[in-house]
């Protein structure tokens, strides 16, 4: 372990590790500092109930992760990482035990399932699924995995292609409006909208409408990390160790060392100082990075105000019911549609589109939601290594704000109602299951939304997106225009966390994109191929012209 490095990464979540791994493999001396004993951030699993029952307490479905560039570049397969792909992504169970099933890559089957609720919506689904595949792959997916392109430049080039125009046509709308425009049936509308809610998008915000046709076209590549979510953390730990980077775990960073107006290293909580001669990359949120670590007095007033006004969402935090079960759950809706028993996600309690505004209203008022719309899965059903032989685990998310308003008891009120709320989730879920009986439950525990912040302090109030995904805070405006290219007004300081484009979840894109930018700024030839969406769209436009 040295005292001086080329660069230091703050935070050993997946974005920090990916960014650090790329840069270390570029020959730079890199140090990653992580406050937790375990690294991986939200890639966290533990035996919270009983030994042998592994509960993935933060992330679960790592959508399409194996197909991403960093996964291949950093040789995650060689690190022992394995994924299980699931053919049935979602089943939405209704109160009267019917179900809609969304298959990962069989649109005809999905349409047939939708058709049992509305023939017209089944047709619409198939139409959008086919029509927007190009837009989903070439524009939306490309945008999600590249540094954001400034809007005017993007607009100019997208106008030149058919798929680009599709994007521009849908983008100004809100997800809610887009869903309602496409579908007529309230249950169908509810499911498609709710899946965006769960992905952390503010569905009532304009500027996100393109996400709907893109999602209908690309489906959901549901994947789970074999051997628990934390296994990906382990694989990244192996990767970073072999990349030659050093790692300090179990030690929080107290401040970013500033020298001559430049980020020059970090000061740890125990007082140790590590110098960074070339760069400091922070995977923390802007509030932590700029106000806590750099210090407000070192920032321009305008910029400091922007940081202070960065919005964290009250509609992404989750209460989680975690169950250790003697056996897997079977669903009453299986009589109507047997495939529900093989689905990954299950939605239990969302009766239709109308439930969503009510849920948002409660969340935005920062009170505990009245209704229950659980979304969850039974990981050990699909990966038996996550529970003792024959047994099962499950998790059930309820959207709920962590920062309860003072008149609703304040954030710590969650500790008072934890047991009661946990039990109410069990009771609610029991209606949908054949066998959710007290005998089946080995143990249950509830993780409140404020526990998310306690464990991962960048997720303010439990905001799993680390900053609202609304019109003003996405793409080239995330977290603010000045930092949208992962650079910051503080020389030598970069951002690589979920507060940057494209946001939270296990995408690795913020870390991947930041690595490319740092490498470029250092005047180094990257050993990988950093993505450039604009170039790609330009060549598409030229192709279409010819």
């Amino acid at each position: 372990m040295r005292e001086e490095y080329d660069g230091i990464v703050l935070g050993g979540g997946h974005n920090g590790l990916i960014c650090g791994g790329y840069l270390a493999r570029a020959g730079l001396k890199v140090l990653v500092v992580e406050r937790h004993l375990e690294i991986g951030g939200g890639l966290d699993s533990h035996e919270g109930t009983r030994s042998g029952f592994w509960h993935n307490v933060h992330s679960n479905n790592h959508r399409g992760v194996c197909d991403l560039k960093w996964y291949k570049d950093l040789e995650m397969d060689k690190m022992g990482q394995e994924y299980i792909r699931l053919p049935i992504s979602v089943a939405m169970l209704t109160r009267d035990h019917k179900a809609i099933v969304w298959y990962a890559s069989e649109p005809e089957k999905t349409a047939a399932s939708i058709g049992r609720f509305s023939e017209k919506d089944a047709k619409a689904f198939l139409e959008y699924n086919e029509k927007y595949r190009g837009m989903a792959g070439e524009i939306f997916a490309r945008e999600q995995t590249s540094p954001p392109v400034p809007y005017e430049e993007k607009k100019a080039v997208l106008e030149k292609t058919e798929v680009g125009r599709q994007y521009l046509e849908w983008q100004p709308k809100s997800i809610n409006d887009a869903v309602c425009e496409i579908f007529e049936n309230d249950v169908i509308r509810g499911m498609f909208c709710f899946l965006s809610v769960i992905r952390g998008f503010e569905t009532d915000s304009p500027g996100l409408g393109h996400i709907v046709p893109a999602a209908l076209a690309s489906g959901v590549s549901t994947q789970m990390s074999k051997g628990s979510t934390h296994k990906l953390g382990h694989s990244l730990h192996k990767m970073i160790t072999l990349s030659g980077a050093d790692l300090i775990d179990g030690m929080a960073v107290k401040g970013i060392l500033m020298e001559d107006g430049r980020a020059a290293g970090v000061v740890c909580r125990d007082g140790r100082v590590f110098k960074a001669n070339k760069f400091v990359v922070s995977s923390l949120n802007p509030t932590q990075t700029f106000l806590d670590m750099v210090g407000e007095n070192k920032l321009e007033t305008d910029f400091a105000n922007k940081v202070k006004n960065f919005k964290y969402s009250n509609t992404t935090p989750l209460f989680t019911l975690l169950l250790a079960q003697n056996e897997r759950l079977y669903w009453k809706a299986a009589e109507w549609e047997p495939d529900v028993n093989d689905a990954w996600y299950l939605i239990a309690g969302l009766e239709g589109f109308g439930d969503i505004p009510k849920l948002y209203e409660d969340c935005n008022a920062r009170r505990i939601p009245q209704g229950k719309q659980l979304l969850g899965a039974q990981p050990a059903q699909h990966d038996p290594t996550q529970a003792p032989p024959g047994k099962c685990t499950s998790f059930w998310w309820q959207l709920a704000p962590g920062n309860l308003a003072e008149e609703h008891g304040g954030p710590d009120h969650w500790d008072d109602v934890r047991e009661e709320f946990t039990q109410s989730c069990v009771d609610h879920l029991a209606h949908y299951a054949e066998n959710l009986t007290p005998d089946n439950i080995v143990e249950q525990f509830g993780q409140t939304p404020i526990d998310i912040e306690r464990h991962l302090p960048n997720m303010v109030g439990g905001d799993i997106q680390v900053g609202e995904l609304s019109e003003d805070q996405i793409l080239d405006k995330r977290p603010f225009p000045e930092c949208a290219q992962y650079r910051t007004p503080v020389p030598g300081l970069y951002l690589c966390g979920a507060s940057c484009h494209p946001g939270g979840n296990i995408t690795g894109s913020p870390g991947y994109n930041a690595a490319g930018i740092v490498c470029k700024d250092l005047g180094m030839e990257p050993w990988w191929n950093p993505p450039d969406a604009l170039e790609h769209w330009k060549s598409m436009a030229n192709g279409e012209k010819e």
Binding site: E38, G80, D249, D270
Partner: protein, 452 residues
């Protein structure tokens, strides 16, 4: 391991016994201060302490400690060396005694005796009346081993070792349960997992406990029936540990008489063992399969030495109370909450601020929890085999296996805590196994032997 972020800290106040009258007795990293503390209780014992150090320190440092990291030598070897001199004969004499007998012979004050005996069970697995292990007493008095805390928590060295392994070209597979050691014609071939997946290797090293390695994974058919019988008769630890882990708003503050304030800086706390008699009482219950009526335990507040183990301003604390592995009349689940509260209440007698309000959360860890989580610690026996003379050194676990090789199965080694020198975070079995395997494979060792 320091390259990989393992760091240790040795607290200056290594240990403290708090007594009901508000006095306290200390062992410091600085011997002079230890002796001064003892002198406050007995001038005579302080003198004896110094004398023991003068007599044995060098011998222990140069002979006893290196032996912990070397393959066990034949039983006659030590005796041959020692019987030639009066000092050697004296060592052999105290060796034949029990630790309790040695402290009784050397010291007069109960608190001093209790302080020495406190360091037998944890970390050494030895009980005060184990005959033939009297020589542990000078080892404790000379303090050649030190109490250290892993900075950032005990898991940090595990991460460091893991990274060292990965960087050295090793690999790991997690959540993989080995169900079989594969053997063909007297040679080991690899392992099979519960899932049926197989991995092949000409060398297999098991750090699992003795019985699971040989009776479950290998299968008795590959061993001499006499060896199998001995393995079946191998005795597990006589005791287990009941743990209490607390998250606190403030560190426990002991109420002490003036001059004994160091107790709040002592790393290893002795609460309740005031005299050798207290150990006898607890052991009586342990051996009867009863929950010890008397509460006397090891406690510690790690965050006093390493604030990084809790949020800013908060603390963690732990209690380890000696208990039976199995209770005769109850399940652990039935008694655990109440017993945890009794343990905490006992600490509160000495540190009144350990109130309900101070405790954010307390959790108990029973012997069953230990065994469930770390399955080689069968029945919660944390030393993976009783640390009695008949199961130590060249007799650990049984004479036929004491050289880490498996007679009749080429390439199969055993290297866990059931081997010499036993359990505890000392790494001895791993180091010795590496030496022996390097020798068998005719590999040039890149590391140096212990110097002795």
């Amino acid at each position: 391991f320091e390259e990989f972020n393992a760091r240790y800290y040795r607290p200056p106040v290594q240990m403290g016994t708090i007594l009901p009258d508000g006095r306290a007795l200390f062992m410091y990293d600085d011997r002079e201060k230890t002796i001064e503390s003892i002198a406050g209780f007995s001038e005579k014992d302080a003198k004896k302490w110094q004398e023991v150090c003068d007599n044995y320190e060098e011998f222990i440092g140069t002979v006893i400690i290196p032996a912990l990291y070397s393959p066990p030598s034949p039983p006659s070897e030590q005796i041959l060396v020692l019987e030639g001199s009066p000092e050697g004969m004296e060592w052999l004499r105290i060796m034949r005694m029990s630790p309790e007998e040695v402290v009784d012979e050397w010291f007069e004050n109960d608190a001093v005796k209790a302080m020495v005996l406190h360091q037998l069970a944890i970390p050494r697995g030895v009980l005060p009346d184990y005959t033939g292990l009297g020589a542990i007493v000078p080892l404790i008095v000379c303090q050649v081993e030190h109490s250290q805390i892993a900075l950032s928590g005990s898991h940090t060295p595990a991460h460091a070792m893991w990274r060292a392994l990965i960087r050295a070209g090793g690999d790991t597979k997690a959540l993989a349960h080995v169900s079989k050691i594969l053997v063909e014609k007297g040679e080991v071939k690899g392992v099979e997992l519960e899932t049926g997946e197989q991995f092949f290797a000409p060398t297999v090293i098991s750090t699992i406990d003795l019985k699971q390695t040989y009776l479950k994974l290998l299968g008795p058919e590959h061993l001499d029936p006499e060896v199998v019988t001995k393995i079946e008769k191998f005795r597990l630890d006589e005791f287990s540990v009941f743990g209490v882990h607390m998250a606190l708003r403030e560190a426990p503050q002991f109420e002490v008489q003036k001059g004994y304030e160091d107790i709040n800086q002592a790393f290893r706390l002795n609460i309740g063992h005031d005299s050798p008699q207290d150990y006898t009482e607890i052991l009586g219950d342990v051996r009867m399969g009863k929950l010890p009526e008397k509460l006397a335990f090891i406690a510690s507040v790690p965050t006093v030495f390493d604030p990084s183990q809790a949020p800013e301003g908060f603390h963690t604390a732990l209690i380890w109370q000696q208990v039976p592995r199995k209770l005769k009349d109850h399940t652990w689940e039935e008694v655990s909450d109440e017993y945890m509260n009794r343990c905490i209440a006992k600490w509160r007698e000495y540190a009144p601020n350990l109130t309900e309000k101070n405790i954010i959360k307390a959790v108990a860890q029973t012997p069953v929890d230990i065994a469930n989580r770390i399955i080689n610690m069968a029945e919660g026996g944390v030393f993976m085999g009783r640390m009695v003379l008949a199961q130590m050194e060249g007799f650990r676990p049984i004479p036929e296996l004491a050289q880490f090789r498996t007679p009749g199965v080429k390439g199969l080694y055993i290297a866990g805590s059931c081997m010499h020198p036993g359990g505890g975070m000392i790494g001895g079995p791993g180091v010795i196994a590496a030496d022996i395997i390097a020798q068998d494979l005719k590999i040039d060792k890149w590391w140096e032997d212990e110097d002795y």
